[in-house]
């Protein structure tokens, strides 16, 4: 996509002003199906914003939750939720697990395991 030629391109830069320079944390490419798991208890630090505590509470290990699921439960859209979660990653409050990559999703042994497990649900 030649986004550089789009008329909206120039205005998009204003996001930097809105988020104090933050878009997503470097290296932390969170997608809608990235699994988020808390690294601390929700009440580990009483000074954490209520919103953050709510997020930590819903993804306590071993129950990781997808970014989309956290967004839905927090009534936020995906993009602002990704920004918020990136902040939590940077602060070491959560860890993230990327979705399976192409070399894994084409692995016949994994696919057969998924099939076997699905057949039993």
């Amino acid at each position: 996509m030649t986004a550089g030629q789009q008329p909206g391109r120039g205005r998009r830069a204003r996001l930097y002003a809105l988020t104090d320079g933050r878009t997503t944390a470097p290296g932390a490419a969170l997608t809608m199906d990235t699994l988020i798991t808390a690294r601390v208890a929700p009440d580990a630090d009483g000074s954490l914003p209520t919103e953050w505590q709510a997020i930590l509470g819903m993804c306590q290990p071993p129950n990781g939750r997808a970014v989309a699921e956290i967004a839905a439960r927090m009534h936020m859209r995906l993009t602002p939720m990704v920004l918020l979660l990136s902040e939590l990653v940077e602060r070491g409050l959560i860890q993230h697990r990327p979705p399976l990559q192409a070399n894994e999703t084409s692995n016949v042994h994994l696919l057969m395991k998924i099939r076997d497990n699905l057949a039993r649900i």
Partner: protein, 196 residues
């Protein structure tokens, strides 16, 4: 990458897309097999692409908010959490949404044989992107006047071997069957040399 821990014995996420025209029963299908009540997530898309902008109050002519309903199935023995994402109804925006397809295992295209044309955009999209899919013909009121072969012909499928399944989107067993059919397709595609 901070916070990325590969050592934990946790499931890896993976997704399957559920596509089809408005009102064809995507959310019903998700609900039939999901271990949670279907959830809804929204994203704001613009013609400039997505990923960085959520500019509330700043209107682009081409911006729209798309919604997806989704559910989850934890497959502990396979070490994965399967998310089933119902694709948003505004197909023309799918092309701008790389996240939608990235990493998807495959798709179920749900069709209503009374409105077959509504499933063409999904089929065209997945064929153009090379994402494997199966067709599920939702039998409303338990009835389906057409055979799988007739439906296959009417859909002009690029691959004549694409599975076409009769299903009731409310039936957990039927939906599981469609998912298994998709997995069979993926397994066959992943191991072409092992078929001998």
């Amino acid at each position: 990458m901070p916070g990325y821990d590969t050592s934990a014995q946790e499931e890896s996420p993976v997704k399957i897309l559920i596509a089809g025209g408005f009102g064809v029963g995507k959310t019903t299908l998700v609900e039939a097999v999901s271990e949670i009540e279907p959830l809804r997530t929204e994203e704001r898309l613009t013609a400039a692409g997505i990923g960085v902008d959520d500019l509330d109050g700043i209107e682009f002519k081409t911006a729209t908010t798309v919604a997806m309903d989704f559910g989850r199935i934890t497959l502990s023995d396979a070490g994965v959490v399967l998310y089933l994402f119902g694709t948003p109804g505004q197909e023309r925006f799918w092309f701008m949404w790389d996240d939608l397809l990235a990493g998807a295992l495959g798709a179920i295209v749900l069709v209503d044989t009374r409105r077959l044309d509504r499933s063409f955009p999904a089929i065209d999209f997945f064929e153009s992107r090379g994402l494997p899919f199966v067709i599920g013909a939702n039998c409303f009121d338990g009835e389906q006047p057409y055979t799988a072969e007739q439906i296959r012909t009417a859909l002009h499928l690029g691959d004549p071997d694409t599975p076409v399944l009769m299903l009731d989107a409310r039936s957990r067993e039927d939906v599981r069957g469609a998912l298994l059919s998709l997995l069979d397709l993926l397994i066959a595609g992943a191991a072409p040399a092992a078929s001998a």
